[in-house]
């Protein structure tokens, strides 16, 4: 799936897909859910921490 096709399917811009893939834009919960819906996956399958921040380990 191309970035443009994914952007159209989720109703956002291709530039936002680029920003999300780069890992420097945190989507809203609504957008995360819409993207997960496009892939027919759960949100935590699509968005997850590689390394949880220290504050979450406690």
């Amino acid at each position: 799936m191309t970035q443009d096709a994914l952007a159209r399917a989720a109703g956002i811009t291709r530039q936002t897909i680029v920003a999300l893939e780069g890992g420097h834009y945190a989507p809203s919960l609504e957008l995360a859910m819409r993207l997960a819906l496009v892939f027919n996956r759960r949100v935590d399958d699509v968005f997850f921490w590689r390394e949880p921040p220290a504050a979450c380990n406690a």
Partner: protein, 205 residues
């Protein structure tokens, strides 16, 4: 960042330069400004079309911001310089002020026409664009408040200086100038956010 500053500064200087030609040059400076906007609009449109082919073109809001920065700074530069040349005792119904106004409004027309050239035919915006717009508006608001405070102090406590000689028309044009400058600050601040984001994307990919 440098590109944003250059576009803003060059547009301001070109606008200010055009103000020197009112009633002097054989061609109306307003028409020169209008032509410059149309030509640069066409050039930028072709540039973005080439970038689109490689998937690196700016989104609809970013395009509108580049256009807004260049044209608002050009019209603003012309207005600021014209106000400087006309002087504090400005009167609306004089040949020089009429000519200046015609030139300035011709450039506003050029800004509208060039927007038609550069705008995205399939405009799309999302939450990221709205986030950047909110931050840009905050910067514009701060610029506006800062200018309003400065102008209020100058008008209130500037007796005995040049402020005392300001005509009613000049005061109203100074207020318009603050709006134009605030808009330029807002566009530049928003474009800076896109630039930071794009730089990150290039670093990661």
């Amino acid at each position: 960042m440098l590109r944003i500053a250059m576009v803003g500064l060059i547009s301001l200087l070109v606008g200010a330069g055009l103000a020197t030609g009112t009633g002097v040059w054989p061609v109306r400076p307003g028409l020169i400004g209008l032509s410059a906007m149309l030509v640069s609009g066409l050039v930028v449109k072709r540039h973005w079309q080439r970038l689109r082919a490689v998937g690196a073109d700016p989104g609809s809001p970013e395009r509108a911001l580049w256009h807004g920065l260049a044209t608002t700074a050009l019209v603003g530069g012309h207005l600021f310089a014209s106000l400087w040349y006309i002087g504090p005792a400005m009167r609306l119904h004089s040949p020089l002020v009429h000519d200046t106004a015609i030139d300035n409004w011709t450039m506003v027309l050029g800004a509208l026409l060039s927007y038609g050239l550069t705008r995205d035919r399939e405009p799309r915006r999302d939450e990221r664009d709205r986030l950047f717009a909110a931050r840009g508006q905050r910067a514009g608001y701060i610029a506006l408040i800062g200018q309003a405070l400065g102008l209020s102090l100058a008008l209130g406590y500037g007796a005995g200086t040049v402020v005392e000689r300001l005509s009613q028309e000049m005061v109203s044009h100074l207020l318009i100038s603050t709006l134009i400058l605030a808009a330029v600050v807002q566009y530049a601040a928003q474009l800076r956010l896109y630039a930071i984001d794009n730089r990150h994307a290039l670093t990661v990919s």
